[in-house]
Symmetry: C2
Subunit: 184 residues, 2 copies
């Protein structure tokens, strides 16, 4: 029930069409909340029916018309209500952890390869986030308000990737040690 609210947040930052939103959910806000264009169009329709957003058809030159959505007063009210409501605990769901736990029921070497692949993925993501951090927030000390919010969420992404890298490294090291011990 949170896609509506993620859309309200994104539209509060700036009015947008369905495709604009789709692109935002492919980066920026998409780093911590993903959605496909099908979901977005469907949800926008429902939100307009509910009066949380309104749309205006905008003609473009050399391109098809687009419907630009904007948050209404009712939408702003709903956003404020949701922001203050308690956030239910979102249990961790990690396919990788299930696989790691199950490694002894299959080919362990292939599971270790999966771990190495994930480690590379997370290193790439960390580099991406750190690049954004250095480009957009070179001096974080003076930040406040909306910019501070953006910065701190990005910091969450950086720390999250660092967590994966550290844990996967511990995992691979431990299994390497256990393996060499077997060999002796």
């Amino acid at each position: 029930m949170a896609l509506e609210h993620a859309i309200l947040v994104s539209l509060s930052e700036r009015a947008a069409s369905g495709l604009d939103l789709t692109r935002r959910f492919d980066k920026s806000i998409g780093y911590f909340w993903t959605a496909s264009h099908q979901q977005i169009y469907r949800t926008l329709s429902r939100m307009e029916k509910d009066g949380w957003v309104r749309s205006e058809v905008v003609a473009q030159q050399g391109r098809p018309d687009k419907k630009v959505y904007d948050v209404t007063a009712a939408g702003r009210e709903e956003l404020g209500r949701w922001l203050a409501a308690p956030t239910p605990a979102q249990p961790l769901r990690s396919e990788l952890m299930v696989k790691f736990r199950a490694a002894s029921y299959g080919d362990r070497e292939q599971v270790l390869d999966l771990a190495r692949a994930k480690l590379a993925e997370h290193r790439d993501l960390l580099a991406l986030y750190e690049g954004i951090e250095q480009r957009d927030f070179p001096k974080p000390d003076g930040l406040a308000g909306r910019e501070l919010d953006m910065y701190l969420v990005l910091r969450g992404g950086v720390r999250m990737e660092q967590f994966w890298i550290d844990w996967l490294t511990e995992y691979l090291d431990a299994h390497t040690r256990a393996h060499t011990k077997d060999e002796r």
Copy 2:
């Protein structure tokens, strides 16, 4: 498509009824993959139809009969196949991060209260995981095989909770500093 596989893992460790599995998904394996009893019963039926598990009705004294499920050869094969298959990147989905980014569109003080509540939740979870770690793996150095797998997944849980605590602390500190600066 991973609940089937989580069930295969759990049944590989030990045969179980639907209710047994439901209880396991409330702790141990449930710390990184959750499922309700409705999901479990529905999925077990499908898996039996597909030949991945077989069931045996076991009479009990003073209790209703139960259906105990067991992994078949086809199920073990499927588990091995799944274990070796690449794991798709699972994008992060955090309602809390959406709220943090949106704090300026609502009552910031209430968002800070949410952050404090989450911090307390994650401290409790960390204490739980560290308790299990000390109780079940007091000397992790000699571990190998299945036990090492269990230990390392638990370490993932510990590190994950540590991540949340560190980040939420950074978040609260940064906003406290920004706030006191406004006051001056």
